[in-house]
Amino acid sequence: MSSGSSADLSVVVVTGIGRFLGAQVASRLAADPRVGHVIGVDAGSPPPELAPLLARVELVESDLTACATVVANLDARAVVHLGVVTAPDPAVGGRAGMKEQNVIGTMQLLAACQRAPRLRKLVVRSSTAAYGASFRDPAVFTEETEPREVPRGGFARDILDIEGYVRGFRRHCPEVTATVLRLAPLIGPAADTTLTRYFAQPVVPTVLGRDPRLQFVHVQDALEILHRSVVEDHPGTFNVAGPGVLTLNQAIRRAGRLPVPVIEPGLSAAAAFGKRLGRGGFGLDQLDLFVHGRVVDTTRLTKEYGVTPRSTAEAFAEFLGGRRAGIAPLGRDRLEAAEQAILRAIARVRGQGRPA
């Protein structure tokens, strides 16, 4: 277990600050006395709701694909690559724009990093989607598990490409401490992702005959690990997920929603249709997850960082606690009330039937 870092953190470049995760990490780093200057890079100016977080962050508006000069000119000592798009956004080019940003952007950024003479640290946000999706997969992925089949989802493919570039970077620049964090889907009271929107629907589509095992990581835990990866030295690849498992149906039930099983070809068609429209939401990435599920081993993370993230069940409960206002047709309290009512009714009927 290593702690503290000898690395020079006078200039830290954070990509993807126009998004929730990037803005949060940049803000935490800016507030850390161990970190000098924090520079946020993103294609456009950040949305107004993230602006307060970025008060102490210098903003550079640059497309990742043109950031080579930015990283070189800034004389970065550490680069935190969070500019990874998880779902296509029609406003910025749909799937094509997403791939451009994820794959070409990462390639350009790492090329720039290779040429940054004083760079000593690289932290890359990856995803547990790196393990792909196959029926021949083991139940629990350790960091060594290789994907057996190339996944269908665009995001998962991008992640495989991104990790490939990081492997190349590690070979070229062994003196740079490179940390790859494979994050499970983020969840938390304030998180707004494809997955949290999915669980917020009153009726939730699932794949007929499948009840995949899911894992989440609490946003705060993910931020903590990302932050510590910058200010401490933790070289290597780590799974970041809440221990334990919720199955999809279990999660939907706990959210008080109603699962509606749909046959897989129907969902595939819907996902393909959505893709053609350039719409985010329910894509092949989600479909693969909802057929195969995904569970990772977090032993290495716990050993290296000395912390265990909140369990998947706890993270999910906190997410639900943050949005109790929504409609929950089958909440736990209602079910308990129904159970008591039935028991009382039976007792009453039997009480009348029985001789006194």
């Binding site: 021949r136 139940a139 005959g209 498992v245 999660a251 706990r254 736990r332 308990e336 159970e339 039997r350």
Partner: protein, 296 residues
């Protein structure tokens, strides 16, 4: 006719009250997602309250199963239970989970579930894959087997695999080849003892006398069985024949201190042979105990 007041009847409503209350509580837990699932997808609540009660009916009433030497099952610690496989449909695996669970609960008082390792086609099919995971099964692969054993679980494996379940009726009680002996290396690497088990009775439940290959390929199944009743009698042909079942647990084979030799093919093959021999002998003994599959 005036008899005494019906005193014994009073005990019965209480039993039914309890059953109704337990059933409702189970239903409420399921609807509210109020249960635990482990990382392999095992759902003990569903297994104990829904699967096992159904399987026990088959186990006791239909197959009149008898378990011999259940005391050979370890009450704690990891162990690899290795059994013969047969019956066209893998009911023997399910019956073995009931036998192991109930024997340990009644004997050593331990609440243990046999965690089965299944072929990949099981996990490819919808519904079946989820039933397998929820009842404690997982894919037969090294990482999963070793992870379960390291966690101290009781793991069940059928090295004959499809060659065993899908073999024709004329080959009954002839143990098939034991694959590559992967189960032995898993046990060696984790130091888990190997417990050989022989199952007699499963061979007769669906006597497979033919195979319709094109239909199997069409349905994505390993084989499409023809039995004396299936497919001729339609759904009725799905009812297993009520053969008499015997299950015997052999003495555990110790594997401690052999971890370094888990990659040595000779050690692995020899140990696999030893296990195979132990199971074959159990089968011969059990067949003598049960001369006819359908005793009056």
């Amino acid at each position: 006719m005036t008899g005494p007041p019906p005193v014994p009847v009073r005990a019965e409503p209480d039993l039914w009250d309890r059953r109704v209350a337990a059933g409702l509580a189970f239903l409420r837990r399921r609807l509210a997602g109020d249960y635990e699932v482990d990382e392999f997808g095992f759902d003990p609540d569903l297994t104990e309250h829904a699967f096992h009660p159904l399987l026990r009916l088959l186990y006791h009433r239909w197959f009149r199963t008898e378990l011999l030497r259940g005391d050979n099952l370890p009450g704690y610690g990891p162990a690899l239970v290795v059994a013969n496989h047969s019956g066209t449909v893998a009911l023997d695996a399910l019956m073995l989970t009931v036998a192991v669970h109930d024997a340990l609960r009644n004997g050593a008082g331990a609440r243990r579930h046999l965690r089965l390792l299944g072929a990949d086609f099981v996990f490819q099919a919808p519904v079946m894959s989820e039933l397998a995971r929820k009842s404690g099964g997982t894919l037969a692969c090294h990482p999963d087997a070793e992870r379960l054993l390291r966690a101290g679980e009781l793991v069940g494996v059928f090295p004959e695999g499809l060659k065993g379940v899908g073999k024709p009726y004329r080959d009954r009680y002839k143990l098939q080849r034991f694959g590559r002996g992967g189960f032995v290396s898993a046990a060696l690497r984790t130091g888990a003892p190997i417990v050989p088990v022989g199952i007699v009775g499963a061979e007769e439940i669906y006597p497979k006398i033919g195979n319709i290959g094109p239909l199997a390929r069409l349905l994505g199944l390993p084989y499409f069985p023809v039995t004396p009743t299936f497919p001729w009698l339609g759904p009725l042909g799905l009812i297993p024949l009520p053969s008499k079942w015997l299950i015997e647990v052999g003495a555990p084979i110790d594997t401690t201190g052999l971890a370094e030799q888990s990659d040595d093919p000779l050690v692995v093959f020899n140990l696999a042979d030893q296990v195979r021999e132990a199971i074959q002998q159990i089968l011969h003994r059990l067949l003598e105990l049960r001369p006819t599959p359908f005793p009056g």
